[in-house]
């Protein structure tokens, strides 16, 4: 622990993220939080619970590509029920029906655009099919339109990838959800810019300062319920990063719990291996994730 302070590093990270989540909630009329089922956005969910003392006063949004690892969907629905989350699930049904996907022969980057970027944009804009889970009645309902979101809270971290390392905490997207990385406004101290022209989409990033290791340290400390496929369940394999099954592979690892994952990251085999190395779409040449992100990908 630092000699000069009563709060630990994790306490400070938690506090700062809660501050950001509260600012976001106060600043936008219709705000949602993206929940990808992965460890980062589940930590985000936990922080929102803390920020609002057990309540989550906004909807959680999941974009279902139809190719998610099946355990992810089961875990999602179970946690939504247990934590009483109002969950909105968006999907590009048209692309799936017309077979514009990687498994049907499309390249990976175009598939990400079809199954993630486009439905994300549509869901945020309030158009396109969506399923909504109402925790109070424990039912799923289908909707075609909804009120658009002005802003979404997103769990991206700076250490994941180069273009994410340059993000602002409050980051503007234009009407088409596009990001101009080279012309971002100043962001001084924690006096975030929350004034935006109408129709601007805002991405709020409370986890920019967290590393993969910090996330696991926090999961361990808080005993946050995470999905089982992050852990080796006897076959010597686990997922380090979650995605669609055609493009994401498990890594060889014996880690069975958060504590063992932390060991692996600090001194073990993953000490110097990039987290997203198990994801095929990142390897197809420099700048690809940045290209996706400029168009509205997370």
């Amino acid at each position: 622990m630092s000699e000069e302070t009563g709060l630990t590093k994790l306490d400070r990270l938690e506090s700062q993220s809660i501050f950001i989540i509260r600012e976001a909630y106060k600043s936008f009329k219709n705000i949602g939080m993206l929940w990808s089922i992965g460890k980062d956005s589940t930590v985000l969910l936990w922080l929102a619970k803390k920020a609002f003392f057990g309540h989550i006063p906004f909807e959680l949004i999941h974009i279902d590509t139809n190719y998610k690892i099946p355990e992810m969907i089961a875990y999602r629905d179970r946690l939504a029920k247990e934590l009483k989350l109002r969950l909105v699930v968006g999907q590009n049904k048209k692309a799936l029906a017309e077979k514009r996907t990687f498994v049907d022969g499309l390249d990976r980057i175009s598939c990400c655009k079809e199954l993630k970027t486009i439905p994300l944009r549509q869901t945020l804009d309030g158009v396109g099919a969506r399923r909504v889970y109402d925790p109070n009645r424990d039912v799923w309902e289908e909707f075609e339109t909804a009120e658009p979101y002005n802003a979404v809270i997103v769990g991206v971290r700076s250490d994941e990838e180069g273009s994410r390392s340059k993000e602002r905490v409050f980051s503007a997207r234009d009407e088409k959800s596009e990001w101009d990385a080279s012309a971002q406004p100043p962001e001084l101290w924690n006096l975030y810019k929350t004034e935006f022209a109408p129709k601007t989409h805002v991405r709020v990033h409370p986890l920019l300062d967290w590393t993969e290791l910090n996330i696991w340290e926090y999961i361990e400390r808080e005993k946050i319920p995470t999905i089982s496929i992050y852990y080796n369940q006897g076959e010597g394999k686990r997922y380090r990063s979650l995605g669609c099954y055609p493009c994401t592979s498990p890594v060889d690892s014996d880690a069975r719990n958060p504590g063992e994952i932390i060991e692996e990251l600090i001194s073990g085999k993953f000490r110097n291996i990039a987290e997203r190395s198990g994801r095929a779409q990142d390897i197809d040449g420099g700048g690809t994730l940045e290209t996706l992100r400029k168009e509205g990908y997370m």
Partner: protein
């Protein structure tokens, strides 16, 4: 033991550091070197970048490890500041690699405003540039007192001691005018890795610490826990639709500590109440909350206060005052100039008010200008601002969080600044004291001075 390692890592200190300096003076190269020489890069990254350079017929540079955006790679220039995670034996760092180009000053400031310490890079060949001075000024305006000056590219000058000494002399003299005292000057070659993590035999005349050793010797800001208590109210929550009857006053404590049962006053409304409970979710209940905690309180008395008020202890003589006119230093970043006879939005703590520029007292860091008619983009000035309504503020050196602000012009985050003085101070203090029935006598100023000396010793050197 495995468990010990885990606990140590989780509690390990974190420090935010900004790397600044003029364009092409070698900031990204320095950071790239630090990452490479401390084995902080992902496996294969160094080789991948080297291979890519070979393929594209370019000479490898350590800076390429950092410039992640496509435009940056194409143009060989850092456009926006990146957060780079890095570990030494002592602590974790976030290094903020800030662009040096004047056009991206807003990005440099965005990076620097997060930092508690700064590394300022000067190219030994080019010498002290206008931007080196400007960055020094901005660091002093942001209140960053821990500054390490790195004189880079000495390999190009045969590691000439005299060049280093001359630059040091010139820059120390400049920083003195800003009352900034750099903690160290280090002669380096970032490209060749000299004096970065290991002492360089090429510069036997330099016997000081390496860049990494100096970073490790920096101190995080004091926690302010011993200071007076203050918390800007961020929001008041009542989620009654879920049968939750609590009215929770939420916010992040900026200094001091508070316990259940204590009496608090909200400024500027001056409403009083007692702390009933410190609210938490999924954690053991607590009776005390401290600096930097994102907190939530229920009060014994149901009072109506809003976001923007500052909660202080009724019994404490906090130097938080209600102000409508302030003297401040401002950095202007807006596309349109900061001009008279126009209304802007000022954000300070969680409060918001309309603000007007009343007077420009002086331009900072530049030659005299004939007319003080406006502040243009990238100008710094000492100004008087008038607010549309009273706001609880502190002087920056009493409390950084309650003494700094942002000015918004339309949708443009156009300026930032620090409060030097509350021009209503005298009046407000008298009325506040009579309201609280506290006789501060002459003791307050002495106390304040002691506090200032404790937290900002460099200001008194």
């Amino acid at each position: 033991m495995a468990i010990t390692t885990t606990v140590e890592a989780a509690n390990r200190e974190r420090m935010d550091i900004v790397i600044t300096g003029h364009v092409d003076h070698g900031k990204s190269t320095l950071v790239g070197r630090l990452l490479a020489d401390t084995q902080s890069l992902p496996e294969g990254k160094l080789q991948a970048v080297k291979d890519s350079c070979k393929k594209n017929g370019r000479v490898f540079e350590y800076a390429f490890l950092l410039d992640a955006l496509e435009d940056e790679q194409k143009q060989g220039i850092t456009i926006d500041s990146a957060r780079i995670f890095f570990k030494s034996k002592v602590r974790e760092y976030i290094i903020i690699d800030a662009p040096g180009h004047i056009e991206f000053l807003r990005n440099m400031l965005s990076g620097a405003s997060r930092a508690v310490a700064a590394v300022l890079v000067i190219d030994a060949v080019e010498g002290v540039a206008e931007n080196s001075k400007r960055h020094g000024l901005l660091l002093s305006l942001l209140g960053i007192s821990q500054v390490l000056v790195v004189v880079n590219k000495l390999d190009a000058l045969n590691y000439d001691r005299q060049v280093f000494e001359d630059i040091k002399k010139e820059y120390v003299a400049y920083l003195e005018t800003l009352k900034v005292k750099p903690l160290a000057f280090v002669p380096v070659s970032a490209r060749e890795g000299k004096n970065i993590t290991e002492a360089a035999s090429e510069m036997p005349w330099y016997t000081g610490k390496t860049v990494l050793e100096i970073l490790d010797s920096f101190r995080n800001l004091p926690s302010n826990e011993d200071s007076f208590f203050a918390m800007p109210v961020q929001d008041v929550y009542r989620f009654s639709n879920d049968n939750d009857e609590r009215r929770i006053y939420a916010g992040t404590i900026v200094s001091g500590e508070i316990s259940v049962g204590e009496s608090v006053t909200f400024l500027p409304s001056r409403k009083e109440a007692h702390i009933k409970n410190i609210e938490v979710w999924n954690a053991p209940s607590k009776t005390r909350a401290i600096t930097a905690e994102a907190s939530g309180f229920t009060l014994e008395e149901e009072i109506y206060v809003k976001r923007g008020e500052v909660m202080v202890k009724s019994a404490e003589k906090a130097p938080v005052q209600t102000a409508e006119r302030i003297r401040a230093n401002v950095i202007w970043l807006g596309v349109r100039p900061f001009s008279f006879n126009k209304s802007y939005l000022l954000k300070l703590g969680s409060a918001r008010a309309e603000v007007r520029l009343e007077k420009i007292e002086s331009f900072l860091g530049e030659g005299e200008r004939e007319e003080y008619s406006e502040l243009r983009r990238n100008d710094c000035g000492s100004v008087i601002l008038s607010l549309s309504r009273p706001m609880a503020v502190s002087a920056f050196f009493d409390n950084p969080v309650l003494g700094r602000f942002v000015i918004v012009d339309g949708y443009d985050a156009a300026g930032g600044g620090i409060v030097l003085e509350n021009l209503d101070a005298k009046k407000t203090w008298q009325s506040l004291n009579s309201f609280e029935g506290v006789n501060t006598g002459g003791g307050f100023e002495e106390e304040l001075f002691a506090l200032l000396k404790k937290y900002f010793p460099h200001r008194f050197e």
